[in-house]
Symmetry: C2
Subunit: 284 residues, 2 copies
Amino acid sequence: MSKHGWHADASEILRVGEGFRLADIDPATTPGYQGDKRRGQKDLATRVHDLDELQERLWAESRADETTDAVLLVLQAMDSAGKGGIVRHVVGGVDPQGVELAAFKAPTDEERAQDFLWRIEKRLPAPGYIGVFDRSHYEDVLIGKVRALADAAEIERRYDAINEFEARVAATGTRIIKVMLHISPQEQTERLMERLDRPDKHWKYNPGDVDERMLWPDYMDAYQRVFDRTSTDAAPWYVVPADHKWYARLAVQELLLAALKDIDPQWPVADFDVAAEKARLAAS
Amino acid sequence: MSKHGWHADASEILRVGEGFRLADIDPATTPGYQGDKRRGQKDLATRVHDLDELQERLWAESRADETTDAVLLVLQAMDSAGKGGIVRHVVGGVDPQGVELAAFKAPTDEERAQDFLWRIEKRLPAPGYIGVFDRSHYEDVLIGKVRALADAAEIERRYDAINEFEARVAATGTRIIKVMLHISPQEQTERLMERLDRPDKHWKYNPGDVDERMLWPDYMDAYQRVFDRTSTDAAPWYVVPADHKWYARLAVQELLLAALKDIDPQWPVADFDVAAEKARLAAS
């Protein structure tokens, strides 16, 4: 019996490849994982130590100027799908010093006056960091498309611009992991209703969320188009079924682990004479 | 029997007040706390939930534009005193979305061309955030004084500039908590020796640390002068004995809790019609 519940490689099984159809994915499933919520939570807690050590190694390498590697996790989803929980429970498990979070809201006037990738480029993770985008440049081809904030030709131009941009970022050593957290409309009803039921959750509720919700099929079409056009070798998409929060967290943790294992960061070798320093320290 | 080991108010007992003398503080003590490492670690884990909820309330208020309050934790210490551990084990316990970390290294040429507070001001926490400064503008009156990087008149000017700056920041609603983690030279020897003994810790060791260590008495004098000149009502200093890492973490957690309790953030009241939204959601 394996030490944990994964019986398949999450980065293979969740990856958006040739012929992928979002409509075929059931948000209530737990692909590649054998186990219930309890086991999932236990695995999450156990594997955070691996993530933690790999992140520290990566950080150490970058402090020693020995790497340009970084990780960028892009999170996209319908409202209430659990982006915040990923940030908190997965990314929150590693040393905050090595994490750069960027939450992208509707662009400001200043941002709108620039190309849509301008504000994104400024928030790319530096070497040694795990960067997390809570929403991203994909909003410009999601709500941008659904709400016709840009015309069709411009949306097409953006897919290409994104691919070129991401290829350039990946070439510098940044592992890009693009995740769509996929919930069902039924699950969203429950989660939004809970926000309405609890006064301590009212602040999380935005009447605009229901407006977007009414455009669900249009959003799913826009996501499908995003996957068709922008799931590349340099920056693949992963669709993570997210009706079970515990599974979504575990799966994203697994994707981060895979990216860090691919980097395979090593503790830097001392650039000083260890024995001489011991003597100096002892004498000081 | 109290639920936790604190028998005194950390923000009273650790505060640098009139007549404070650093030389009187024993780094191996655990003021205000009754209990050993084991109990301390348990309390740390328990009380992180309080910190977490208070931070979420503060964050919620700021999302609803209902507050300009924020918290700024300034961490200063001799090398290896445990700043990183505070960031990780205390600050790391709250939602990373509400935290802004800034690590200040030796200033760049661009920064040096400006007033010493220029780079600091840019990293102040926005409303709703807990900001953490890993080193700070105090380096400019610590290493700045000890290494005579500025003349005596300039150092004097800086104390006043700091007090004016911090008073202005506090007036906007930011609770400023300035912490010196106080270790003994003996404890530092052990910690630096451990870094030299372990290849996975070599990257944390910097031969320059021993150079600074040799100036220990000068640094203590410089800290004393900082406390005399800049522990104000608007921005008090706290000296936290730090030979016991578990105590230092617990104490800083307590100081953060006190600042958040002082803010007393409340869940924002809905600015929409809850019943109407429930009906809309159910119908959607």
